[in-house]
């Protein structure tokens, strides 16, 4: 048992989203939902974060940004794709510049559907991510620690 599930810190990246899911993620921090009750902080620095929250679909311009943020995060780390665009590309999946969901460039652990995803669904997704985080910590090799 580690303390990871008691203090998950998020880094949130808004890929080419319409900002609908983006605003719903921020709504989780407001007094109505207040995810800091569970120790969740929107930390804004990939080196300090445990959970990478991505909204919006992947295109040629933000592909390298997403990979860069993911590579800078310290193990154990999980990725949560939020909204229709981040999970599959959504209505933009046929566009000439869109590659699809976030799982095209980095491994995704939890998918939260919805357009836009409800704050309740986002919180539920993060809670499921905590289970994955704990699992990854147990499997983390001695070398990585």
């Amino acid at each position: 048992m580690s303390y990871l599930p008691k203090s998950p810190w998020l880094v949130h990246y808004d890929a080419s989203s319409c900002n609908g899911c983006d605003i719903e993620v921020l709504a989780c921090l407001t007094p109505l939902y207040d995810v800091e009750r569970f120790g969740v902080l929107n930390i804004g620095n990939p080196k300090h974060a445990d959970i990478f929250v991505v909204t919006g679909s992947v295109n040629e311009q933000n592909k390298s940004v997403i990979q860069n943020i993911y590579n800078q995060m310290a193990e154990p780390k999980v990725v949560v794709a939020i909204g229709a665009c981040a999970t599959s590309g959504g209505i933009f999946r046929e566009c000439y510049n869109v590659q699809g969901g976030v799982d095209k460039v980095i491994p995704v652990d939890v998918y939260v559907p919805g357009c836009a995803a409800r704050p309740e669904a986002i919180i539920d997704g993060v809670v499921q991510a905590l289970g994955v985080l704990e699992e990854k910590y147990k499997n983390m090799g001695k070398v990585a620690k």
Partner: protein, 285 residues
């Protein structure tokens, strides 16, 4: 303090300060949340955060940065040891300054543009608060004729009667030292108003935990200095230190961050008017 007692004080400080400092940080986050209409994290949340950071992978940009961060922690602990064992106040303050310098060197050693900006701002903060810190010690010496913490603490009347200006000036720079808005220019507790994460951008895992623990030690030491102003009665001193901290939380939640020019300018003007003014009054009395 005689040999044996000062060792007991040192051990008590090393063991209890992180516990007290962590609890203060927990109360701080809870009260801040309530001021914003939120429920807030559990009281022990700062401890959960530090334990979690201990179990994370440690990404090191420069192999020397670990050494510098550890030196920062050690010198902050030494500062408190000197202070709470009743040693020399001047030496305690200079040990704290040395600790801060190690944090700046650690940030510079990472060659990160974000950490550079944080380190530059940390230095500007130091320039802002150091004059007032030195004036505080000078004022305490002028009243008690000693730099020794024990002599200052056992002086026959509370220093607040003779040093009201210096106390207010010290309160002003305490906001900078606690890294509270509007003066949290190098490293903010609130991540959303930060250029990445300021001076601690490149520290992760254990190193970040050390910085956090050093911050707890430092806060206990600073509240110890606040207690010195109300000395002769332990209970009143601690109660007033708690009121001071509540005031800082209130200020933190009611201000947005200022530019570094305003921080430096206002801190020096306060030091000049309240600090120098109080000392001039003592000298001419």
């Amino acid at each position: 303090m005689s040999g044996m007692n000062s060792w007991i004080a040192v051990i008590l400080y090393i063991v209890l300060a992180p516990i007290i400092g962590g609890l203060i940080a927990g109360v701080d986050r809870k009260i801040s949340a309530r001021m914003q209409g939120r429920f807030g994290p559990p009281l022990l949340q700062p401890f959960y955060d530090v334990f979690k950071l201990m179990s994370k992978q440690n990404i090191v940009v420069n192999k020397h940065q670990k050494f510098y961060v550890l030196c920062f922690l050690i010198f902050v602990i030494i500062t408190g040891c000197i202070f709470f064992s009743g040693g020399d106040l001047l030496l305690a303050i200079f040990a704290l300054t040395l600790g801060s310098v190690f944090l700046i060197i650690a940030a510079y050693s990472t060659y990160s543009p974000y950490a550079y900006i944080g380190a530059e701002r940390e230095m500007l903060q130091m320039m802002a608060y150091e004059p007032m810190v030195i004036l505080t010690i000078v004022g305490m010496y002028m009243v008690t004729k000693s730099f020794n913490v024990l002599d200052i603490f056992t002086y026959n009347q509370p220093l607040i009667y003779t040093l009201p200006g210096i106390f207010l000036g010290f309160l002003f720079i305490l906001t900078i030292k606690f890294r509270k808005s509007p003066f949290d220019i190098s490293m903010s507790h609130h991540a959303h108003q930060e250029i990445v994460r300021g001076v601690i951008t490149e520290f992760s895992g254990k190193e970040l935990a050390y910085v956090e623990i050093a911050h707890w030690y430092e806060n206990v030491f600073l509240l110890g200095i606040v207690c010195l102003f109300f000395a002769t009665n332990w209970a009143i001193a601690i109660a007033l230190a708690a009121v001071t901290y509540l005031l800082e939380i209130f200020i933190d939640n009611n201000n947005s961050r200022l530019k570094w020019q305003s921080t430096l300018g206002s801190a020096w003007i306060v030091a000049l008017i309240l600090g120098v003014g109080n000392i001039a009054f003592l000298a001419l009395r």
